[in-house]
Symmetry: C2
Subunit: 137 residues, 2 copies
DNA sequence: CATAAATCTATTGCACGCAATTGAATTGCG
DNA sequence: CGCAATTCAATTGCGTGCAATAGATTTATG
């Protein structure tokens, strides 16, 4: 059952990240969103959703919590008021520094060489694309 | 980001299963539980939790919904009244037949050879064990 | 034997994840 | 231009996932 192996691995990752992210006051999905924003600030909700594979039903409350924590600002775009632009605050930038150890700790926990990680990641991306392609017919 | 690839693949699987399981009235986690019970009937909640990596907080309401649907029965074990034994009903057994096409459809959607699937699965199980081992220290 | 410790299920509270709907804003078409 | 179709974010409802806790039962300990 490949499905079950992935299911278990995904949860194992979430559990592994949890103790590392807790001191930062972030959940795992929130951390993914912050990483996306650190990589490119000022993204619209739609853009984040496409990149992370999440819809507005998930992102809206998540972003609201990040705003509540003072990490991001949400603002309607002046040119297209349907869109909401998310910008990282000073506090959000500081969190980036404080979270620098997280990636390293996870890399160590996986105990994989860089080659192994790369191969596995590519296989999974490939698989994901095939599954999504099949679903759309 | 390996974490992100797994995160995406897990959701892609869930989405791929969804249209197949909907006609059966099952969610993906419910399907996993039913598969575990079809493989071995009469399991206790604890046993299911260990095998699927879920705790009682997740399983209790899930099993209650399966009972509501008439697929399983929950009964306190006579020998140890702390435990609850889950048994598949006649209706639950009939569902097994009706779901026989699901696995095949997913296998096809992945578009992987048996060797690829096996290799990927083993890599993920290995990774999961390392992550869990690291967490327990 | 009585009591403390451990085990097991259920409940509560919070945070996703997604379908479906709503409401506002923009685009396209006649 | 004017109205319909589209796009986008937010909301609602349901089903996980998990920590923390509670309650009941069994086991271990003195």
């Amino acid at each position: 059952m490949l499905c079950f192996a992935i299911y278990g691995a995904a949860h194992a990752f979430t559990r592994a990240y949890k103790p590392l992210l807790e001191p930062l006051g972030l959940t795992y999905p929130q951390y993914l969103v912050m990483m996306a924003l650190w990589a490119e600030d000022g993204q619209k909700v739609k853009m984040l959703g496409d990149r992370l594979g999440l819809d507005s039903g998930t992102l809206s409350p998540l972003l609201k919590r990040l705003e509540q924590s003072g990490l991001v600002k949400r603002k309607r775009d002046a040119e297209d008021e349907r869109q909401v632009k998310i910008t990282v605050t000073q506090q959000g930038l500081e969190l980036k520094e404080r979270s620098s150890g997280v990636m390293a700790a996870i890399g160590k926990a996986t105990g994989c060489s860089l080659d192994e990680v790369t191969a596995l990641r590519e296989a999974l991306v490939e698989l994901t694309e095939r599954l999504e392609g099949a679903g759309e017919k």
